[in-house]
C-alpha cells in the first residue's frame, strides 16, 4: 500500500538547560510534539502561539539546526537524520523573519540565488543558471532585470522577502519552513507575501509551515492550524474550525486578545484585568497543564496531571474539559 506523502514529527522534545548558581534548571522548549504536514496534496500548516511558546525552536528542529533530545522526524517515512544534509535541504527550505538580516549587505542580491544553485549542483553552465534564476524570480512576481546587480539595501522589505522565497524555490523543495515571514513587513506588503504562499501551494505543489503570532493572517492562509503553548501543542485541526470556534481555553484567550481592524468591535475597556501574569520560566516548570494559572476554567486535576489529547471530529485538543467527548 502506498502511503500519502507527508512530513511527520513524532513525539519531539527539546530540553534547554539553564545554570542557576550551582543547580541546573531544565525546561522543555518543545514538549512531546506530534504533528503531520501533508506534502501531496500540499497544505499550508499554520503554527501559532505567543512569543516563548517554542514555535521557532520547533522550526529549528525541523531544519536540523538544532537536534531534539527525544523523538523522530520523518520525511516520506525516512528519518531526516539519515539524509545527507544537501539532500535534505533540497526538500526543505527556510524563510526567515527579517529579510534584511538574511542577505549579506555587501553582496549582490542575485548572487544568493546563484550561490544556492552552485551549492546544490543544479546547473553548471552560466546560461542555464541564469535561466533558472529568471524562472524562480518570475514565480515570485519579480523581474530578473530589476534584481540583477543590485544590493539588498536597494530593495524594500517586501521585495527582499520575495527574493528570499525565490532563492528557496530554485531547489524545488517539498516544504517551506517560514518563520514569521511577514512580521517585519508593512501591512500593505504583508498580504501580497501571504498571497504568494497561497499561489505557490496551488501552482507548484509546495507545502508551507507558516509560523506566526498573528492569528488573522494564519486564519487567512492556513488549511490547518496548530496552537502552541509553552512547548505543548494544545489544539490542532482545521484552521477555520479552530478559529471560528476555539475549544481550548488558551486558544479562546488568544482569539479574545486579537484586536480587529474594526472600530465597531472595540476590545479595550476600562475593566480591570487579572494583573501579574506568571513569568515565562515558571509556566514552563508548571506541572500538569501549562495554562492552569491563567485559565478561567481550571480545576484541581489540571494542576496535578497533564491532559492528554482528546479528539473532537478532526480536531485534537489537549484539555481535560473535553475528556468526556472521547
Amino acid at each position: 500500500m502506498k502511503e500519502n506523502k507527508k512530513f511527520s514529527i513524532q513525539n519531539v522534545t527539546k530540553i534547554f538547560s539553564q545554570r542557576v548558581l550551582l543547580s541546573k534548571e531544565e525546561f522543555k522548549a518543545v514538549d512531546d510534539v506530534t504533528l503531520e504536514i501533508s506534502l501531496d496534496p500540499p497544505e499550508i500548516f499554520g503554527l501559532v502561539g505567543e512569543s516563548g511558546s517554542g514555535k521557532s525552536t520547533l522550526a529549528n528542529i525541523i531544519l536540523q539546526i538544532i537536534y531534539p533530545e527525544v523523538g523522530k522526524i520523518y520525511l516520506n517515512s525516512k528519518n531526516i537524520a539519515d539524509f545527507e544534509i544537501t539532500e535534505f535541504m533540497k526538500h526543505i527550505q527556510p524563510i526567515f523573519q527579517d529579510p534584511f538580516d538574511s542577505f549579506d549587505p555587501m553582496k549582490k542580491t542575485d548572487f544568493f540565488i546563484y550561490e544556492t544553485i552552485k551549492n546544490f549542483n543544479i546547473a553548471k553552465e552560466k546560461s542555464s543558471i541564469e535561466s533558472l534564476i529568471n524562472e524562480s524570480l518570475k514565480n515570485v512576481g519579480l523581474d530578473y532585470k530589476t534584481v540583477k546587480g543590485k544590493y539588498p539595501h536597494e530593495f524594500s522589505g517586501g521585495q527582499l522577502q520575495r527574493i528570499a522565497v525565490a532563492r528557496a524555490l530554485v531547489v524545488h523543495p517539498l516544504l517551506l519552513v517560514a518563520d514569521e515571514p511577514v512580521s517585519m513587513l508593512d501591512a500593505s506588503l504583508r498580504i501580497s507575501i501571504v498571497n504568494l504562499f497561497k499561489e505557490l501551494k496551488e501552482k507548484h505543489n509546495l507545502s508551507v509551515l507558516y509560523i506566526t503570532h498573528d492569528l488573522s493572517t494564519a486564519y487567512y492562509i492556513s488549511d490547518r492550524i496548530g496552537v502552541m503553548l509553552r512547548g505543548n501543542l494544545v489544539e490542532i485541526g482545521n484552521a477555520k474550525e479552530i478559529l471560528d470556534e476555539p475549544l481550548h481555553p488558551y486558544t479562546q484567550f488568544l482569539k479574545e486578545s486579537v484586536l480587529e481592524p474594526d472600530p465597531t468591535k472595540k476590545k479595550i475597556t476600562l475593566e480591570e484585568s487579572e494583573e501579574q501574569r506568571m513569568t515565562v520560566i515558571s509556566e514552563y516548570q508548571q506541572k500538569g497543564c501549562k495554562f492552569v494559572n491563567r485559565c478561567p476554567k481550571a480545576t484541581d486535576i489540571c494542576k496535578e496531571k497533564e491532559p492528554g489529547y482528546y479528539s473532537i471530529k478532526d480536531r485534537k485538543v489537549k484539555c481535560f474539559l473535553y475528556e468526556n467527548f472521547k
Binding site: S51, A187, Y219, D244, F253, L259, P261, K265, L270, Q276
Partner: protein, 328 residues
C-alpha cells in the same frame, strides 16, 4: 484653542548633500482630551513627525520651515513655547514613550534609580518626600506593585517594563503623551493590557495621547481620530469611525481592504508596488505610481488637504474632481 498646532512643517534628514524628505508640508491640530493615531508604513515619516512635535530635533534631523505651537493650560510662563524651548517642559507637560521603550531602562540600575533620576532632572521643585509619596500612589494607582522599584530591568517581563515606562511618562501628569509604537513588540494578550493602561490614564487625567503605530487594528480599537501618513505627507485625517467606514483616499481604502480578519477567508489584495524612497520622492501626489485611479494631474501637482465632511480631511485630486463634477 487647540492644544497643539502644527503648521506646514518640513522636517528633513540631511547627510552631506543628500536630503531625505521625511516629513513634508504636514499640518495637524491636536485638541484637548483626545487620542489621535498616526498610521502609516515604516519609513513614511511617522516617527520623525512625533520627534519634531516632542522637540527632539537633533542633527541630522532639521526642521526646515513651519512651526509647532503648544498651548498648554496653566503654564507658568507666558512666553511662547516652541520647539526650541520645549525641552524645559519635557515630562511635565509633554512626555514621550519611544519605540522599543522597554530597552531604555539601564540594565545595571534598579527601577528606583530610574525614577529618581527622572525626578532630579525634571522636577526639582518637588521635595524628595513628596516625590516618593507621588511615586508610590501613582504606581499603585496604575496597578503596579511598589516592589518593582527594587528590581533590575532584566527581572521584569517586556509588558511590565513597558508599564514602568508608561508609569514614568505619566508621573507628572503631562498634558500630552506621545507613544511611538507602544505595543509592537508585545504579545497579543499583553498588548491589550498595555493599551488598557494607557486608556485608563487618558480617561482619568483627560490629557491627549498621540499614538504612532503601523497596526491598523490598534488604531481602530484605541484612537478617537486617525491621521494616515504616506511617504512624508498626511493624506487623510478623520474620526476613527469615518476612516474605517468611509475611507476617501485610495491609499487608505486599499490599506483597510488588505487587512485580514478572523472569520473572513475571502481573497485579499495587497497594494501593488512599494513605498517610494524619500530622497527623491515622486512628483505630484506621492502615491500616484501605486494608485490604481491616478490620472495626469496627479503626476504634476501635489494635492492639498481639503475638508470633505466635518472633521474629515483628505488630500486627493480624485475627490476634488468628483466634487466639482457634482457641482456642475
Amino acid at each position: 484653542m487647540a492644544l497643539l498646532e502644527i503648521n506646514k512643517i518640513n522636517a528633513y534628514y540631511i547627510h552631506n548633500i543628500q536630503k531625505t524628505r521625511a516629513v513634508e508640508n504636514v499640518s495637524l491640530s491636536v485638541e484637548d482630551d483626545e487620542i489621535i493615531g498616526i498610521a502609516g508604513e515604516s519609513g513614511c515619516g511617522k516617527s520623525t513627525l512625533v520627534k519634531t512635535i516632542y522637540g527632539a530635533i537633533e542633527p541630522p534631523l532639521y526642521l526646515e520651515n513651519g512651526s509647532v505651537i503648544y498651548n498648554f493650560k496653566n503654564s507658568n510662563s507666558n512666553a511662547n513655547i516652541t520647539t526650541d524651548n520645549i525641552p524645559l517642559f519635557w515630562w511635565k507637560k509633554i512626555s514621550y514613550i519611544p519605540q522599543a521603550s522597554m530597552n531604555v531602562l539601564n540594565p545595571v540600575r534598579k527601577i528606583k534609580k530610574f525614577f529618581e533620576n527622572l525626578w532630579r532632572a525634571h522636577s526639582q521643585d518637588l521635595s524628595f518626600k513628596n516625590y516618593q509619596k507621588l511615586l508610590s500612589t501613582h504606581l499603585e494607582h496604575l496597578g503596579l506593585s511598589v516592589n518593582i522599584l527594587e528590581y533590575y530591568p532584566h527581572q521584569l517581563s517586556g509588558g511590565m517594563k513597558q508599564r514602568v515606562i508608561i508609569g514614568a511618562a505619566s508621573l507628572f501628569h503631562p498634558e500630552l503623551i506621545i507613544a511611538d509604537e507602544p505595543t509592537s513588540a508585545l504579545d497579543v494578550g499583553v498588548q491589550l493590557d498595555v493599551l488598557r493602561l494607557l486608556l485608563k490614564i487618558q480617561k482619568e487625567s483627560k490629557n491627549t495621547i498621540i499614538v504612532v503605530a503601523h497596526d491598523m487594528s490598534v488604531m481602530a480599537n484605541f484612537c478617537t481620530k486617525i491621521a494616515i501618513m504616506y511617504a512624508g505627507n498626511i493624506v487623510e485625517i478623520g474620526k476613527t469611525q469615518d476612516i474605517f467606514s468611509h475611507p476617501l483616499h485610495p491609499y487608505t481604502k486599499l490599506l483597510i481592504d488588505s487587512l485580514p480578519k478572523i472569520g473572513d477567508k475571502r481573497g485579499l489584495k495587497g497594494i501593488p508596488g512599494s513605498p517610494p524612497d524619500l530622497v527623491s520622492p515622486p512628483s505630484g501626489c506621492r502615491f500616484h505610481p501605486r494608485c490604481p485611479y491616478s490620472f495626469e494631474l496627479c503626476k504634476k501637482v501635489a494635492p492639498m488637504m481639503k475638508e470633505f465632511s466635518p472633521g474629515h480631511q483628505v488630500a486627493c485630486h480624485l475627490l476634488e474632481r468628483g466634487e466639482s463634477n457634482e457641482r456642475k
